[in-house]
């Protein structure tokens, strides 16, 4: 594929140098952060010998652990609900071409993806206040589901678009009911998309700061919001340790999602 591009050698060399610079730019800050998390010094930017003390402190911090637990609960629940609803929505858009309100729904699905999260945060805050819903873990979950449905729907829909509709016709031709067709043919084949969407939803939920901060109310909080608060108050090396753990978790998710993608390609 790329043999035909024939970029002149010097251009290619410049591009390669640019490439490595960008990679350096992307990774250096993260690597520095990870390095400092193991630093024994209590001043954040100064190295003070190798130490696990910040990690120990982190695990002993009850408020932090609570917020972590909340994050996981919120992420899990909102991911599951958003995945189910989003998958159904993706199917509705791709496999059914004419129904009441389809075009409106299509537009509505795209909005949460492009809207800045600040706007979404105040929207939901205003709404919860208007309908008198008490702010807390439940409003956090509700909000996360609201923006995640769209992401799942988009991923599932693009996966469906690549699925030959005659496969489902063949299943029905072979005596399968609609439900059996879905369970034995459609679902297994879009599963990489469903899982990809779920993973995206999980990440977005674990990442979210603004929306959660505004709709969480006075009580429980999630990990990123807790860390955000810590950062704004005063920067301590403990934050470095928390950050490193969060980074590793993200990386694990990347590799898991790649695993699913590889599985999906096996059938193409």
């Amino acid at each position: 594929m790329t043999e035909g591009t024939a970029t002149p050698r010097w251009v290619d060399r410049v591009l390669t140098i640019n490439g490595w610079i960008v990679f350096l730019f992307l990774y250096l800050p993260i690597l520095v952060l990870v390095a400092y998390s193991f630093s024994g010094s209590s001043t954040v930017g100064i190295w003070g010998g190798f130490s696990f003390q910040w990690y120990r402190q982190m695990f002993g911090n009850e408020a932090l652990m609570d917020s972590l637990r909340n994050s996981l609960v919120v992420a899990l629940i909102s991911t599951v609900v958003a995945t189910v609803l989003g998958t159904a929505a993706g199917i509705a858009i791709d496999r059914y071409r004419r129904w009441l309100g389809r075009r409106t729904f299509d537009a509505l699905l795209y909005l949460p993806v492009i809207i800045p999260d600040v706007t979404m945060a105040i929207m939901l805050l205003l709404w919860f206040t208007t309908i008198n819903l008490a702010l807390g873990l439940s409003t956090i979950i509700i909000s996360h589901i609201a923006f995640n449905i769209s992401f799942v729907a988009i991923v599932v829909r693009s996966r469906l678009a690549h699925l030959d509709p005659s496969l489902e016709e063949a299943a029905m031709d072979l005596y399968a009911s609609r439900w059996k067709t879905f369970r034995r043919v459609t679902l297994p084949l879009i599963m990489p998309g469903v899982l990809g969407g779920a993973l995206l939803a999980l990440t977005l939920s674990l990442d979210d700061v603004v929306i959660t901060q505004l709709v969480q109310g006075p009580g429980a909080t999630t990990l990123p919001v807790f860390v955000f608060g810590l950062i704004k108050r005063s920067v301590t090396p403990e934050i470095n340790a928390v950050s490193t753990v969060m980074l590793i978790a993200s990386m694990v998710l990347v590799f898991v999602s790649l695993g699913f993608q590889r599985r999906g390609e096996r059938y193409d």
Binding site: T2, A6, L15, V32
Partner: protein
């Protein structure tokens, strides 16, 4: 499209246009019901909240800052023209635009380089290396710069040692660096997707027809990658405009951006209608930007 699955008494009739219409309607309802739960959810927790923002932006306010819903006024919108507000808006707009342009300037060659590596395995590996920062927690990635730019941070010390720069933290350049760092992957990935999908034999054909390297790029590659450029630009511009975390961590009092400003209206500044008005303006800008995107023929993000 098939038929009325569960009408046994109908099984022995011949077809007629009325029954065909019934079958089409049944199919249509099936589609509707698949979407119904999400539809209801999004109406209730997205569309209606949007309406509320609009409504609140026109309402008066109580002492606590929340809307009063008794008196209607354009005060919030009038406040938009205050110098402070305009300055903040202008700052945000310029930051967002500058960020988008620089991300494009750096990101396009980078994506092009990625897409033109000849071996699929190399491309996959490089793509994974880009995905890792992309999926990493945004807060953490921004925080990393907080450390680098702090008074004892490595970058500050290098700057002081070479005499090139002093402490950058809490200044506008710091926020800009944070935005660039945060959103660069959002520009690279759609660009890479568009370039990777491209049919490079078209470039070959162009070369065959005597185009120079630059000419082939300008008239073949660039236009074909435009959907990716537009998608990437939108994915960078809109979040940059509404950036909250980045200026909160890396910026200071003098570098307030729209995102933070809006949130303050709902917390310390206690002026919900005004916060809503600003949001309405941002939403309108965003809507225009996306309409431009879809008008250029792109159908998916």
């Amino acid at each position: 499209m098939t038929l009325l699955d569960d009408k046994p008494d109908r099984d022995t009739e011949a077809a007629n246009p009325e029954l065909e219409r019934k079958a089409e309607r049944a199919e249509s309802w099936r589609g509707f019901f698949h979407a119904l739960p999400s539809f209801v959810y999004l109406i209730f927790f997205f569309a209606l909240p949007l309406v509320i923002v609009l409504v609140v932006s026109f309402s008066g306010r109580k002492g606590t800052g929340s809307p009063s819903f008794d008196d209607w006024t354009l005060d919030a919108y009038r406040k938009l023209f205050d110098t402070t507000v305009l300055r903040i808006a202008w700052r945000s707009l310029t930051m967002a635009t500058l960020n988008t342009v620089i991300c494009l300037a750096i990101g396009y060659p980078f994506a092009y380089w990625l897409a033109t590596r000849s071996k699929q395995s190399t491309r996959n590996l490089l793509l994974v290396l880009v995905l890792i920062p992309f999926w990493s927690n945004f807060l953490v990635r921004t925080y990393a710069w907080r450390i680098l730019l702090d008074s004892d941070g490595p970058i500050t010390r290098i700057g002081e040692a070479t005499g090139l720069w002093g402490k950058l933290l809490f200044t506008q350049p710091a926020v800009f660096l944070g935005l660039l760092y945060g959103y660069l992957p959002f520009m690279v990935l759609p660009l890479y997707a568009a370039l990777e999908r491209m049919d490079w034999s078209l470039v070959e054909a162009g070369r065959d027809l005597y185009a120079t390297g630059w000419g082939a790029f300008r008239r073949i590659t660039w236009p074909l990658s435009r959907p990716g450029v537009i998608a990437g630009s939108i994915l960078v511009f809109i979040p940059s405009l509404g950036a909250y975390v980045t200026p909160a961590i890396l910026g200071g009092a003098k570098t307030t951006l729209l995102g933070d400003y809006i949130v303050t209206q709902f917390t310390s500044a206690r002026n919900w209608p005004f916060g809503s008005a600003v949001s309405v303006v941002i939403l309108t800008v965003m809507l225009i930007a996306t309409l431009v995107y879809f008008r250029t023929g792109a159908r998916t993000l």
